[in-house]
């Protein structure tokens, strides 16, 4: 499974790339040691109920996210522009665990 996550705001840009087959994780192109399968498992559960797109048109600047999860058969993409799924805080907690 390959995972690509990008979170952007004016003053921050975070990119996480994970390959569960090679157990490789890159945070802003810098390798990190994590349990890729565990991460993928948690991310899959968090995103299970997500819609493909979240958008709040009223906001200028703010934060956006892109999450791409792909295996051999399925490729899923979730994007958000200043609007977020209800359990976004769980997603952030997971991401921050990898970034820190």
């Amino acid at each position: 499974m390959k995972i690509k996550i990008i979170i952007k705001s004016n003053f921050e840009q975070r990119k996480i790339e994970i390959d569960t087959q090679t157990n490789q994780c890159l945070v802003n192109n810098v390798p990190k040691v994590i349990n890729a399968y565990e991460f993928a498992k948690k991310l899959s559960m968090i995103t299970l109920s997500w819609q493909p797109e979240y958008r709040n048109p009223a906001v200028i600047d703010g934060e956006s996210f892109v999450v791409e999860i792909a295996d051999d058969l399925v490729c899923k993409k979730y994007v958000g522009f200043n609007d977020y799924p209800a359990n976004y805080h769980q997603f952030l907690k997971l991401i921050m665990g990898v970034i820190k």
């Binding site: 990008i6 498992k41 009223a58 906001v59 600047d61």
Partner: protein, 632 residues
């Protein structure tokens, strides 16, 4: 309003009383001709500084601690530099700024001998004195006595530390204790706010988990054999399926392999072993009736709703923002803005800021709300970025059901929701949805943002030159900065025209100036550059490397004249080709615009000259101060 004082400023209202000063500063940057616009818009802006509590941790507390440790170091360094300045016999070994830490230790220990003998090893480490450039590097492995015996006169050191103590006690004692008191007070206030949120979050989210856990153990007794961690994971997965809903679960045909594996594992733990095909589980009525039990769903739903309300009610940051928003006369209801604020306070991880436009229901004017993190986390650069968006905004059209506004090169269309924020609305899911407001594709968004950000940075530099600081968060590089290299020359040359277009009522003013095709090309190119930002340096280095190898020109020379070398006919590798072609497009487009603007300038000058000729009036050339008088 929240009030936590850091450095004598309320971090939730750092610009208090400075509006006129900021207006004057903006006018000094953008030009006196824009005073009316700037004054009106900045006076119509509500700036809200708030904070965030992410997963029960408030990054603000760490930021406050960091701020005060910098401030303490500043004071100690100040004392130290006085010592160096006024003590001619001050040991030359004690002349690095890090040595100021001695002062701090001397105060805390109040015992010179203890300081010299017991603390010195720690101090060496803390000072970073083991660095090779440090004159004390060789003394690291020696005992203190050996160290002192080498070339430092112990008595002189003791005299100095004594002197430090005296100065600190009589001259800086009050300042130091004031700083420490302020720090303690700020942190304890912030901790009080955070405790309110923590209690609400933990209580409510745990209740839902306990409910589901009890239900699972009752319905699926086999799960008692699971370890606590396995069971906790299963509860989370079970809750995710509940969130997905029965229909979505039954009809879902795009499960990732990992999703299927995890779900099947859970179902097997629950006692449903139907093999490894997820579709078998999706159509099993017995399993579905366990997962989507009406009573449980209702209970969890009811507690989830309660938890949202509790979180909102117990989040002092959100309550503070809500109070401000409710005081504004927002036409079409304040739900949309309050909802954005709630997300800002609750969810958003990074330290960005947001700007929202609204119509005042009493005056029908376009007004603005800017949400920022507190003054410790945000720096003036971010504030100027948002305020630039404010002053480049104009109301294009106002109607009964919504309004159209311009922001820089872009147009926003907004439909009113006609709802005010209340918990019933929030729980009913009446938040901003894509279908309720339309957002035209923002083709020039990145291009506009990069230019805006460039101006914000120039303003930030100016304000710092003056020694003025409003918010005092650390300066951080913005994401847009990466694109400055390819824009700077043009913006510097045509700064006045760009500012006039951005501050014009006409959203198409800049497009009219540079041409529609050029505008489109620049918008697409900068969008590409920005969105590949994370690989930007890789592409850039690769392109430089390829030019250097293929032309035998040193890479530093290529870097210095990159825009010229990319026009050489080189067979690029694929990734470098994409990057080079974008940079080329930008460079060529700017050249084209440059020529066209020069021509129009020339033709305007010629036109004036022709007019003068026709009227038989020849304008007398003005003598410039640096002319030497032989002008013909």
């Amino acid at each position: 309003m929240l009030n936590v004082t850091v450095n004598g400023t309320n971090i939730f209202d750092p610009l208090e009383g400075n509006t006129q000063e900021i207006i004057d500063f903006f006018v000094s940057y953008y030009g006196e001709e824009h005073r009316e616009r700037i004054t009106k818009r900045l006076n119509n802006t509500t700036l809200i500084f708030t904070s965030r509590n992410l997963f029960g941790e408030n990054p603000l507390i760490e930021n406050v601690k960091h701020f005060y440790s910098q401030k303490e170091n500043f004071i100690y360094n100040k004392i130290f530099s006085e010592l160096v300045q006024y003590t001619p016999k001050f040991p030359s070994n004690f002349n690095t700024p890090g040595d100021a830490y001695l002062v701090k230790c001397a105060i805390e220990e109040n015992n010179i001998d203890v300081l010299m003998y017991d603390k010195i090893t720690d101090l060496i480490e803390m000072f970073g004195l083991e660095r090779p450039d440090c004159p004390l590097v060789d003394y690291n492995h020696k005992t203190i006595d050996e160290w002192l015996a080498i070339d430092v006169n112990r008595d002189r050191v003791l005299r100095c530390v004594n002197y430090i103590l005296r100065i600190c006690k009589y001259k800086y004692g009050d300042i130091i204790s004031q700083v420490l008191q302020e720090k303690q007070l700020a942190i304890s206030q912030l901790k009080t706010y955070d405790n309110q949120i923590d209690i609400a979050v933990n209580t409510t989210s745990n209740i839902c988990k306990i409910l589901v856990g009890k239900y699972l153990l009752k319905k699926c007794p086999k799960m008692q054999k699971l370890t606590a961690d396995e069971f906790s994971d299963d509860v989370d997965i079970f809750m995710s399926i509940m969130q997905l809903g029965v229909e979505n679960f039954i009809n879902k045909d795009d499960f990732l392999r990992t999703e299927s594996l995890i779900l099947i594992e859970l179902f097997k733990h629950m006692g449903f072993n139907l093999g490894n095909d997820i579709s078998k589980y999706q159509s099993n009525y017995k399993l579905l009736s366990v997962i989507f039990d009406n009573e449980l769903c209702e209970q969890v739903n009811s507690y989830s709703k309660k938890s949202v309300v509790e979180m909102c009610k117990n989040n002092p940051y959100f309550q503070d923002v809500l109070q401000t928003i409710q005081g504004l006369n927002i036409k079409g209801g304040n739900l949309e803005i309050a909802y954005s604020a709630l997300q800002f306070v609750q969810n958003v991880s990074t330290q960005g800021a947001v700007m929202l436009q609204y119509i005042d229901s009493k005056t029908d004017e376009l007004k603005f709300v800017c949400l920022f993190p507190d003054a410790v986390s945000v720096c003036d650069y971010a504030i100027f970025h948002e305020l630039n968006h404010v002053i480049e905004s104009d109301l294009v059209k106002s109607a009964e059901d919504g309004f159209v506004a311009k922001c820089g090169f872009e147009i926003f269309e907004r439909k009113y929701l006609n709802e005010d924020f209340c918990f019933e609305n929030l729980l009913a899911g009446k938040k901003v949805k894509g279908e309720e407001t339309s957002r035209p594709k923002r083709e020039s968004e990145i291009f506009n943002e990069i230019i805006n950000d460039y101006f914000a940075l120039q303003m930030y530099k100016k304000v710092r030159e003056k020694g003025k600081v409003y918010a005092f968060g650390d300066m951080r590089l913005s994401a847009y900065m990466s694109c400055y290299d390819f824009l700077k020359g043009f913006v510097v040359k045509y700064e006045k025209q760009i500012i006039d277009c951005r501050l014009s009522k006409d959203p198409k003013a800049f497009e009219k100036l540079i041409g529609k095709d050029n505008m489109e090309l620049l918008s697409i190119s900068f969008d590409f550059l920005f969105n590949y930002y994370e690989n930007y340096n890789t592409y850039y280095c690769q392109a430089i490397d390829e030019i250097s190898k293929k032309t035998n020109i040193p890479s530093n020379e290529v870097t210095a004249r990159f825009n010229e070398y990319i026009n050489l006919k080189i067979e690029w590798s694929k990734p470098a080709e994409m990057f080079v072609s974008t940079v080329k497009t930008i460079s060529q487009t700017f050249d084209k615009i440059d020529q066209s603007l020069q021509q129009s300038n020339n033709s305007a000058t010629e036109k004036i000259a022709r007019t003068f000729k026709k009227l038989k009036i020849l304008p007398t050339p003005q003598k410039r101060p640096d002319d030497n008088g032989d002008q013909k």
